[in-house]
């Protein structure tokens, strides 16, 4: 199993609840990294705060567990100093898009070479089940005891609009695609966003009567469809998964290197 080499086994079993999709993301990520053949010393993982952020502690890379919402800003400092390193930035949906929303869109805009993984479980889990910016209208949460009237973001649309040059959506159910999508995101030279829909049976599931972890995984299967599928045409409420954007644009570190060269020439 490739996982063994890349994880800090001494901290397992991990803190995540039974059936939490975050572990499946970790599982897919180590496979992606093995497929690429990255060396552990060349990987820096930067995370923020929340259930998702704990992934960094379990990975045997250079790991930086930072403050809520700011993982991308820390990661940019690392990357701009060491463009040769591979930066992985796992975040929760609240972490990336509520408190960290500004950093998220600006990281997309700069097209700096790193991979942002939004582990979207539609809830604040670490604090006990409050609604997140991705919970969506009509959901229930401890802070929406009557119903949630906040509309949700579409991470893929927003990342695309903000200029990310690789944008994809995967799910914790579709594990045959997950490592491949993560691999392609990491290999992409530029800012990559991968939204991974993951179940939180403990909070989102209970509050919204979505059943067990198994039931929530079934939901990921039935409520999503590959991009451009016939099923989507027949049922527009299906959520598309796959790679939405993959384009080449000047990468930020490389562009800055050109600035250095100009400055050194005095022009």
């Amino acid at each position: 199993m490739p996982a063994r080499e890349y994880i800090r086994e001494r901290f397992f079993p991990h803190i995540w609840c039974p059936g939490c999709g975050h572990g499946i993301v970790l599982n897919g990520l180590v496979r992606a990294i093995e497929n690429i053949g990255l060396k552990k010393n060349d990987i820096v993982m930067v995370s923020g705060i929340g259930c998702s952020s704990r992934i960094a502690g379990y990975m045997d890379f250079h790991t930086l567990h930072t403050i809520h919402g700011r993982a991308l800003a820390f990661a940019i400092g690392v990357k701009m100093s060491r463009p040769d390193l591979t930066l992985l930035v796992p975040m929760g949906d609240g972490d990336a898009l509520s408190i960290g929303g500004n950093h998220f869109i600006h990281a997309c805009r700069r097209n700096i070479d790193m991979t942002a993984i939004v582990m979207n479980n539609r809830v604040y889990g670490m604090t006990g089940g409050q609604y997140s910016p991705l919970s969506g209208y009509g959901t229930m949460a401890t802070t929406a005891p009557y119903t949630n009237i906040d509309q949700a973001f579409d991470v893929v649309s927003m990342a695309t609009a903000a200029g990310a040059t690789f944008v994809a959506r995967a799910t914790a159910y579709h594990v045959q695609q997950l490592p491949g999508i993560l691999e392609e995101a990491i290999r992409h030279k530029g800012f990559s966003v991968v939204e991974v829909m993951t179940p939180c049976p403990t909070y989102f599931g209970r509050k919204n009567k979505e059943g067990s972890a198994v039931d929530m995984m079934e939901n990921l299967k039935t409520r999503t469809t590959p991009i451009g599928s016939k099923a989507k045409q027949e049922n527009p409420s299906l959520i598309e998964r796959g790679i939405f954007v993959k384009k080449e644009l000047p990468e930020y570190c490389a562009e800055y290197q050109r600035i250095v060269e100009r400055a050194m020439k005095g022009k």
């Binding site: 079993p13 975050h22 572990g23 198994v214």
Partner: protein, 69 residues
């Protein structure tokens, strides 16, 4: 691609949290939870080595060990 042959299911009982995802989604119903809510391979002879259980396990608690045919 050569067909994979099962060597065994390596299950880490300390890591398994008994969520049942592997059990439910196993296409051949090889796996079950025991009385301690830990996964066991009760019908290994039926395993087709698709490794979906291994890929879907949130706890990295199961590994399908194979040898090439």
């Amino acid at each position: 691609m050569a067909k994979l042959k099962l060597k065994g299911h390596l299950i880490n009982r300390d890591w398994c949290k008994g969520c049942g995802i592997c059990v439910h989604f196993c296409p051949r119903k090889v796996l079950e939870l025991d009385e301690f809510d830990k996964v066991v391979a009760v019908r290994p002879q039926d395993c087709v080595c698709c490794k979906l259980c291994e890929l879907r396990c949130p706890d990295l608690a199961i590994e399908v060990q194979t040898e090439q045919d």
